[in-house]
């Protein structure tokens, strides 16, 4: 069964360092998302990506964040200068088509720890 794959599963980084989280969405899916979940809190939307550009972003997704789909398969989230409060679980998700009824498939997440 196709699945969304995220690497690494756990990333530890020093405050101020850049980090890149990687995702391989399900092929032939068209919509891609990043969410984050701070420990013990709800899952929060960061950004949506469609047709090779950002379609929407939340207030959390400030200038420190960027997304790319460099080669048609990978979908990356970059945090330029990490802060302690960026420590969270980051989930990538993809959907096959437009329409709110279609299921979003989630990856297993990357746990980011900023020290």
């Amino acid at each position: 069964e196709p699945e969304v794959t995220q690497t690494p599963s756990h990333q530890v980084t020093q405050m101020g360092q850049e980090v890149i989280l990687r995702c391989v969405p399900i092929s032939n899916h068209l919509y891609f998302y990043w969410y984050r979940q701070i420990l013990g809190q709800k899952v929060e939307f960061l950004v949506s990506f469609y047709n090779n550009e950002i379609s929407e972003k939340s207030e959390i997704f400030d200038d420190q964040f960027s997304v790319e789909r460099p080669d048609g398969s990978n979908f990356t989230l970059k945090i330029r200068s990490t802060k302690l409060e960026d420590s969270a679980m980051y989930f990538c998700a993809s959907r096959p088509s437009t329409g709110g009824h279609t299921e979003a498939f989630f990856g297993q997440g990357t746990r980011l720890t900023v020290v």
Partner: protein, 115 residues
């Protein structure tokens, strides 16, 4: 803006019994979709059930069913014949067409299943 509220931080149910998890939402949109996602200890988000707002019939997936009360903006999840494997965090979510159909999650309900 859409908000999703889950008022039960924790719930407990005995194996084989039935439990209902509550969810209310607020939206100004006339066309929207509602979901319940399960997050087991592995942290991966798994779709449990979905409901299209224009459908009056409550969605059902095996032991999982919803009670969708559109006028009251309520979307509760009923789990029948609870199993130990049902123990997880359960998140209610709505789809926001203004955010590239990104999911808007509630804070979650932690379900404990006791033998």
């Amino acid at each position: 803006a859409q908000t999703v509220t889950q008022s039960q931080p924790e719930m407990s149910v005995q194996e084989a019994e039935t439990v209902t998890l509550s969810c209310t939402y607020d939206t100004s949109e006339s066309d929207y979709y509602l979901f319940w996602y399960k997050q087991p200890p592995s942290r991966q988000m798994i779709l449990v059930i979905r409901q299209e707002a224009y459908k009056q019939q409550n969605a059902t997936e095996n032991r999982f069913s919803v009670n969708f009360q559109k006028a009251a903006k309520s979307f509760s999840l009923k789990i029948s014949d609870s199993q130990l494997g049902d123990a997880a965090m359960y998140f209610c979510a709505s789809v926001n067409s203004n955010s590239g159909y990104a999911l808007n999650f509630g804070k979650g309900t932690s379900l404990l299943v006791t033998p």
